[in-house]
Symmetry: C2
Subunit: 421 residues, 2 copies
């Protein structure tokens, strides 16, 4: 064993998180709502590994991004491996691998951890989790609306009302049309789109745009075009489809572009409307050509991703965080050492009736055992001593209300379930 002066650090690796039970409870709360809404819309769960060939990301983005913003390393078999920075390429790979067998449209979701090599800051960690929901093999406004409705549904299920957030929608085809009007070369579209995506974060945006375009006249014209566009027939059709699905907070916003190159049509971002947190939280869009990178026919697809960090920030901002409750409903306290056998047997009996129950093994005084249950927020306790062992009747105490009831073993489960609701 190492000596004290050589001790190991208890810190996690920089930019990642430890989830203690209280934190895991919130993760679980967020994930369960994500799952529930996806499944209501007929989406099936899938998953893939965090390890992917680095090539998967080089295919659609610059080598610079892969090398500088991802965890990429060479394994001992000389393979270049990347810790996935996003899920869409893995999803597309899996669909492409079985595209002759999969019935389309296919609706799939996953909740997956992703990695970016970034300076840790609010809302941008090195590891975060995200829901990804995608429908592949369906074109048109109905599929686009469904994806947006899932994002909306997750927000609503987490307790947000439509005043707390807005869904800003645009269309890559609007940008492409503007680029055409302004006379920008096709090869420059991705670069210009990425610059537009960072628009609000750049101070001298128009200057940078001029430099990229090599023409300040084009830059001025593009900025003017961007300001002028209001909506399109397609976006109004989308609005109608969204209304069918109960979504009433769509806003046309041609400033929305999304950073990834692979988007081809509708793009959207969900904004927090709270002045303290007013920003794009997450988004998605249509990407009709990504599958063709794998040598299969082009298959239309649309999806979105929603991260756990922004979701949790949103819940905090709007005072919507759930109150921690452990999964343990009952703790059995040991009044004297030889009650332990009796307690273990009773616990096992209650487990058969689906009660989540722990036996206090601390060996401490009963008062300390009660304080422990209280600190752990376990709602019910039963102290096991000579009286209980002899009578077979147990006093179930609700720690927070102080209410007590004395029952035989076979009535305890029923009492707990009716009290816990």
């Amino acid at each position: 064993m190492a000596k004290q002066d050589n001790k190991l650090s208890t810190k996690s690796y920089r930019g990642v998180r430890d989830f203690y039970p209280e934190d895991q409870f919130i993760q679980r709360y967020i994930f369960e709502h994500m799952e529930q809404i996806c499944e209501l819309f007929g989406y099936e769960e899938y998953s893939s590994s965090i390890l992917e060939s680095a090539e998967l990301y080089r295919g659609k983005t610059s080598e610079e991004i892969v090398n500088e913003q991802t965890y990429t390393f060479t394994d001992r078999g000389e393979r270049e491996v990347t810790l996935r920075p996003e899920v869409t390429p893995s999803f597309a790979r899996m669909i492409a691998a079985r595209y002759r067998e999969i019935p389309f449209p296919a609706r799939w979701y996953t909740i997956a951890n992703c990695f970016r090599y970034e300076r840790p800051q609010r809302g941008r960690l090195r590891e975060h989790w995200q829901l990804n929901a995608d429908i592949v093999g369906a074109e048109g406004a109905a599929a686009d609306a469904e994806i947006i409705a899932i994002a909306h549904g997750v927000m609503r299920s987490l307790g947000a009302d439509e005043r707390n957030f807005e869904i800003h929608v645009s269309d890559r085809r609007i940008l492409d049309a503007m680029y055409g009007v302004v006379g920008i070369e096709k090869a420059m579209y991705p670069d210009i789109t990425r610059l537009l995506d960072r628009r609000d974060k750049i101070k001298d945006f128009e200057k940078q745009l001029s430099e990229k375009l090599g023409s300040s006249a084009q830059a001025t014209k593009l900025v003017k075009e961007l300001a002028r566009t209001t909506s399109t027939a397609y976006l109004e059709e989308l609005r109608g489809q969204l209304e069918l699905l109960g979504v009433g907070n769509m806003v046309v916003d041609t400033k929305i572009t999304r950073g990834f190159d692979y988007y081809t049509g509708m793009v959207f971002e969900v904004f927090d409307t709270d002045p303290a947190n007013r920003r794009a939280m997450f988004g998605g869009g249509r990407y009709d050509n990504l599958l063709s990178l794998f040598g299969v026919d082009s298959i239309p697809a649309v999806g979105f991703a929603m991260g756990d960090v922004t979701a949790r920030d949103f819940l905090e901002t709007h005072n919507l965080l759930p109150k921690y409750a452990p999964s343990t409903e009952l703790m059995l306290l040991i009044v004297e050492a030889d009650a332990s056998t009796h307690a273990m047997r009773l616990a096992q009996e209650l487990r058969r009736e689906d009660v989540t129950v722990s036996v206090n093994f601390s060996g401490k005084r009963v008062g300390d055992q009660i304080r422990q249950a209280d600190k752990m927020k376990v709602p019910f306790i039963i102290a096991i001593g000579t009286k209980e062992r002899e009578s077979g009747r147990y006093t179930v105490k609700n720690i927070s209300t102080g209410a007590e009831i004395t029952l035989p073993a076979d009535r305890i489960a029923e009492h707990l379930f009716s009290s816990l609701g």
Copy 2:
């Protein structure tokens, strides 16, 4: 976009798995049973990142193992990072970080993916998932028994009966006593224990043992001692505690040692009894000194880990795999294009009543839409055409039985739930 001749591979990285919805269904089934049993015993869920400082593993095992059997790389901040090969060190780190605040004993579980740089083979992939359940701050047979009872409970909940598996139990203190009798130096204990752990996989075990000990007399004596030991008072106390918890298939087996250095007391492995798969599937043990590596007081701890790959192999061997059922209960089929709006509205109405429902966006003929629902194993369909739009009555069809019933919208949810049970 890349050209066809430059296409991306659809294969996953070597030694990891893609989980298509049918595979994910089995993962989910295994994970949910693991979670359920842990929670019945009062264990709370936690989690940590797959990224850990390499130092965390160097603290307790050889540099050789860290460098050759783990994914370890240097990040751009010159930090050595390891993809966790196991969870116990992370668990110990988290407990140590808050050991003054956490009420002990603490019962925690996590289901986490782990990575090993190994040649992929049956049951040994580069990435696998494992349940880890640990109780920290409790000594003695009751805590040891509880951990074994959870392992037993997970197996039982997955459909195994006690004839399908055996729990082989030993104690590191037995080994230590034997090493003393044979006259082995303390510094050699870990090496000898690791060799014993691989005993069944080594052909010339006794020869290797002689070489390690530098004495064939000691080797012969140790092998004889190992064969002679039957049980101990402690192991019989453990058997009694296990019986309280309904565990009747414990077997004393002093050949069980476990590979990790950190074990200090009880060790166990769960064996498949099927002749086709007779082997140790997973295990655990007591590790009372691990926490002290972090410079905190020594805290007794016991736990186990159970992997998804061996669990799935076990279910296959014993014909216990669950039959795939998608989360989608109902598919709405579109008989003519202008029924789409009606279908989307009906779907949304049913979702409000918790029905998981998709709308078929394929645009194909109804026969093809039925075949798609059938292929996806969606149990119920409703075709939406002029008749349904005009009457507000819908024919719900069970695809596998062919049974049909015609109902108004507000009776559909009730019918589905009673049919699905």
